[in-house]
């Protein structure tokens, strides 16, 4: 016989935990967004190399800027979903996925998949909270939390490598063999069957 008090104690020693049932390495929902090490450094790099110069360019058309930036959602999506590009491009995609106050998460939920399947060389970089306003304050009319930066000769290779080495690559095994369809190899086997 155990008293109620003893039972209470027994219950209290167990901690309540929530176990993710559906997380499997095959589907990998949780690791969709590539992990960024030292986020503050990445933000500082982005600010000092790109954004601080954009402040001075607010009166100039965006197409005239020394580097090619893209902020339009549909353009970015169509660029990422190109199947067979003539020349593979090299780009960074900065995403303010933590600023859910300004950027609805529904807009960005398919972006990691797109970037993963993209034939171009895309490095997806997620930015910490507050980055959306930071980018807007530098004179870029950011609407969807997506900032695509084409890496060309104008961009310091040190900046590129510094960011690249801080972004961990992701794996999504279920998307790997999506693009090539392999039909199953079927053959007929000759056997005999008793006649009824």
């Amino acid at each position: 016989m155990s008293s109620l008090k003893a039972l209470d104690k027994k219950v209290a020693t167990r901690k309540q935990v929530y176990k993710p049932i559906l997380s499997s390495p095959y589907v990998n929902d949780l690791g969709q967004w590539p992990h960024v090490n030292e986020q503050s450094v990445v933000v500082e790099l982005l600010k000092s190399t790109i954004l601080n110069k954009c402040v001075h360019l607010t009166n100039v058309e965006m197409s005239q800027w020394p580097w090619s930036l893209e902020i339009d959602y549909n353009k970015i999506v169509s660029l990422l979903s190109e199947k067979t590009p003539a020349t593979p491009l090299h780009m960074f995609l900065f995403v303010c996925n933590k600023d859910t106050k300004f950027v609805p998460s529904i807009l960005l939920q398919q972006i990691p998949t797109l970037a993963y399947l993209c034939p171009h060389d895309v490095t997806l970089v997620q930015l910490p909270t507050g980055s959306f306003e930071m980018i807007r304050n530098s004179g870029i009319n950011l609407q969807n939390g997506l900032l695509l930066l084409h890496i060309n000769d104008q961009i310091d290779p040190k900046f590129v490598s510094a960011i690249k080495e801080r972004v961990q690559p992701t794996t999504q095994p279920w998307l790997d063999d999506l693009n090539e369809y392999r039909s199953t190899q079927l053959d007929l086997l000759t056997t005999t069957q008793p006649i009824r």
């Binding site: 999506v77 939920q109 399947l117 530098s138 998307l175």
Partner: protein, 193 residues
């Protein structure tokens, strides 16, 4: 089966069905009733185990097409487009399934106004001070500035804690009572009596 075995079986069962759902886009390249069947089986299983699924799975704009039930993979079996409405009105996001050509819409908030250029003529230093959020976020914990801030905050917190202690509250109440009593008789206090 004991309880532990049961939960293990449930987990494996559900994960298997979930993985199956994700297998489908690579197996079939055309509309298929298999995806709907698998999704239904998965939903039924979660219902049987009395689990609530996260909204990103069950939402009409979520992971699965609402008509054929295939896992949405942007660029492969789904097109997405953002429509910007007239000025002041909200924009919307459209998902179009390429298997069953079913579209789902989701309303988004209105477009944000173009940002006011900050300090175009002045140096970058000034503009940096104008972005309080970013500087607050970026500053490292080892920074001089933030450590001062932290200690000040800690002091304020300690002060608050002291003020909130029980004896303090009691003494404050007593003081107030005394004040009331010591004052000249007011009409209000008279009425209360």
């Amino acid at each position: 089966m004991n309880r532990e075995q049961k939960t293990r079986f449930r987990d494996r069962h559900l994960r298997y069905q979930y993985d199956l759902l994700h297998c489908l886009p690579s197996v079939t390249q055309r509309p298929d009733s298999l995806s709907g069947l698998y999704l239904k089986k998965f939903y039924n299983a979660t219902k049987r185990y009395q689990l609530t699924l996260p909204t990103q799975l069950t939402d009409p704009m979520g992971m699965f097409c609402t008509q054929c039930g295939v896992v949405r993979v942007a660029g492969v079996n789904m097109e997405m487009e953002r429509h910007v409405g007239a000025k002041g009105k909200g924009s919307s996001l459209t998902y179009k399934c390429l298997y069953c050509s079913k579209s789902n819409d989701s309303m988004l908030g209105p477009e944000l106004a173009a940002p006011q250029p900050i300090a175009t003529a002045t140096s970058g230093k000034n503009s940096r001070s104008n972005t309080p959020i970013s500087t607050g976020k970026v500053s490292k914990p080892g920074n001089n500035n933030s450590s001062i801030n932290n200690s000040a905050k800690a002091k304020a917190r300690a002060k608050k804690r002291k003020n909130n202690s029980l004896s303090n509250l009691l003494s404050q109440k007593n003081k107030e009572n005394k004040k009331k009593n010591s004052g000249i008789l007011s009409l209000e206090s008279f009425m209360q009596k």
